[in-house]
Symmetry: C2
Subunit: 451 residues, 2 copies
């Protein structure tokens, strides 16, 4: 954002004015320093000069915005003392993510440089799988004893406040380490200094188990509008805190995953441009083959009705149009239902309501599309009865598409499958085959062709 | 979360133990009280009893989780005094959203019940369009004068701290009201009480203009990992603050919008189950007709090659399979590129890199699919040369699908269109028509059929 500062830094990098560079850099946000580091990708010496010029805190914050390879490379090229200072300033969760992502030999090397206490912390965090609440939490939070007064909490805060990542809440524990309550720093500040913290705190604490899925933590933070959520173990002892900024990333990742599955791709865990061809191939070929298999039924259906196609070749003209429209209406219904399920708006119990909605939608949309189809058929000059055939077919195909599109994700959930599997590509393919069967049945009836 | 409390409340609602009910309710989070209110949808008297039993703060917080119709209805049924108390306790942004959403006559009625100062605040907020940073901000933030010391900031906080929605940051203004800096409450607390706040504050403030799109605010909060972002007017005066919990909602909404466009639906601004049939029809028919129009080319292409189909009716067997596979590979490429563009990972400048990636992907995926197609063709017993024709066609169709799928969103952005428009359904339809042309050209060549 403060582009003028960044301009000045770019200029200063070409000079030897180390002091001016240092003071200009101190005004940057970690994210902006990370941007400068990315810009200088080709000039490692300049990257190191930038990192060495700033306070370890700022350097650590900037590194957290880079990918793990770059984090490791830069830490490796800083001198021993600098790298220790930056490592020590990194937040425990960022550090454990980095150490979990690099080669084990490098991980050991990084751990070696940490002070004993921080090393133990990181090793504890490394035990939680990446996609769980425990894997996303930080251990740099503020803890208070139940017997303390507001004044004691503030005294404690003045001592450790620099290090904590979450300064909004104080987590109050009883003598066994169990989470007894949560107090907001605001309430602690506003209370009379002699008030026991146990009178300020909220005791019906919303928390998440360390082994819960990160999505559960995301849902809770979102619903309750919290900025942080305590993470507890099986004995209800607090082991860490998840902060909203990490959850924003989770929400973006989950949306990306859903969008990719809906596009017929197994979820990519990295950015598109960074993915290797081999990786992309593996993520795409599976779905393509599965859909191919499902679509191969269309071949058999068409072969089965070859005689009919031979008699009225004009029937073939409308095949892509009819199955395409059916597929599109199925994709619409499945997209709506899958997203509503992901947001918790639609559940299995709504099956009848959803089905009834889509029956009416399918008939209305199908009716409108029939008018369009009939007009097209007449415009290109096919006989009246063929025009009526395609119009009647499209009503049925859109109806079937809408209902199957809405029903399959719900049925999938009932069977314990991920509803997203029944997204647009699969529904489209299923509706293709169904649509052809409908088309030929209608044609036989309306064109008066026998078997 | 604390389900035992909710159970107890359900029981107490059947009794006349008002005091016990009151004390059980005080332990609830606003979100949980909102859940209870939703459960009692059919029993308005119980809803009112619940709201009247709790502190106005909690009632206001719970209402913010309900939809606008329910908020208005319940406020309308509370007695005059109760409704005034709850309205006054609502946050300024929730209040302006509610007033902006209800009928103008009702809006005037609600505004009338507010104290003068709050009414003026809400009216100021109502001037900002809903999807802008101004439309999402709150005016309940903490402001300090540049000349104050840390101790003065704390004294001020003790006075107004109850009302502010954002207690993490202090926004420091100069004598003209311009935003001079931001200080974190943590730093204010940790500083020596006599330190001027101007020495604690950070001056390179990241802010967003009130008229900026809400997505810009979302991107900034996400990138910088902030929990709140100041909103300024054209003269750089602070007018409000956007908080992360509102941004989480923006991120979810934007993801829903992208997913719906990718499913061939104009974005719905409400939940699927709540949408009327008329509304759903309008959101779906437009895309269906547009895609129908695009697909009608397939009809002309087929008619144009009717003679060929007449000669070799078996050609028709593979039409849905070939164009389906081409469409699927196009959907994969467009999904990947559109999402990467939405996340800022891919830009126009990457066009050549993306195209080259998809050319190689298309050939590899096409090659794999050709093997599958040839095997299928032989298995169902079509002649060898027809099998080779469909195999060759599928390589080309997958190649064209992948490249067009990736290129169109980028070209769209270049032309100033929303890249999401070129998502799966449109790409699939375009690839359908292209695929047919390729199929017939390849067939003529490989089967030795003349015009």
């Amino acid at each position: 954002m403060p582009t003028s500062v960044q301009e000045r830094i770019r200029d200063l990098l070409t000079t030897a004015h180390e002091d001016e560079l240092r003071s200009a850099l101190e005004e940057l946000q970690p994210f902006d320093l990370a941007g400068l580091l990315r810009e200088r990708e080709e000039h490692e010496d300049e990257q190191i000069r930038l990192l060495a010029a700033v306070a370890p805190d700022l350097a650590a914050g900037a590194l957290e915005h880079l990918d793990y390879q770059d984090q490791y490379r830069l830490l490796d090229h800083l001198d021993e003392q600098g790298s220790r200072a930056v490592l020590t300033s990194m937040s425990s969760d960022a550090l454990s993510d980095l150490i979990g992502a690099v080669h084990p030999r490098r991980a050991r090397e990084l751990l070696r440089r940490l002070p004993d206490e921080q090393r133990a912390e990181v090793q504890r965090l490394l035990e939680f799988p990446e996609n769980t609440a425990g894997g996303r939490m930080t251990v740099d939070y503020l803890e208070a004893q139940q017997a303390w007064t507001a004044a004691q909490v503030l005294t404690h805060f003045r001592k450790v406040g620099r290090e904590v990542e979450v300064a909004n809440y104080v987590y109050v524990v009883d003598s066994t380490g169990r989470l007894a309550g949560v107090a907001s720093m605001r309430d602690v500040l506003l209370a009379d200094p002699q008030t026991p913290v146990s009178e300020i705190m909220y005791t019906q604490v919303v928390s998440v188990r360390a082994d819960a899925d990160q999505e559960e933590a995301a849902r809770l933070l979102e619903q309750y509008d919290f900025v942080a959520l305590p993470v507890v173990d099986a004995a209800d002892r607090i082991v860490g805190v998840i902060t909203i900024d990490d959850i924003v990333d989770v929400i973006e990742e989950e949306a990306t995953e859903d969008i990719q599955i809906a596009g017929g791709i197994a979820p990519l865990d990295e950015s598109y441009l960074d993915s290797s061809l081999t990786r992309l191939f593996r993520k795409r070929i599976g779905w393509l083959l599965l859909l191919f298999l499902a679509a191969s039924f269309t071949t058999s259906i068409l072969r089965h009705h070859a005689e009919l196609l031979d008699q009225v070749v004009a029937l073939a003209f409308f095949i892509p149009l009819l199955i395409g429209t059916g597929g599109n209406s199925g994709a619409q219904a499945s997209t709506l239902v899958i997203r509503a399920m992901a947001l918790g708006e639609v559940a299995l119990a709504d099956f009848v309501r959803v089905a009834w909605k889509e029956i009416r939608m399918g008939l209305t949309l199908g009716g409108a599309m029939a008018v369009a189809t009939f007009a097209l058929a007449r415009a290109i000059g096919v006989p009246l009865n063929l025009g009526l055939t395609v119009a009647a077919t499209i009503v049925l195909v859109v109806l079937v598409g809408s209902v199957l599109g809405a029903a399959f994700p719900l049925i999938g959930r009932r069977l314990g499958l991920d509803p997203a599997v029944f997204s647009a590509p699969l529904i489209t393919t299923i509706v293709d085959a169904t649509g052809l069967v409908i088309y030929f049945q209608v044609a036989r009836l309306m064109l008066g062709l026998g078997r």
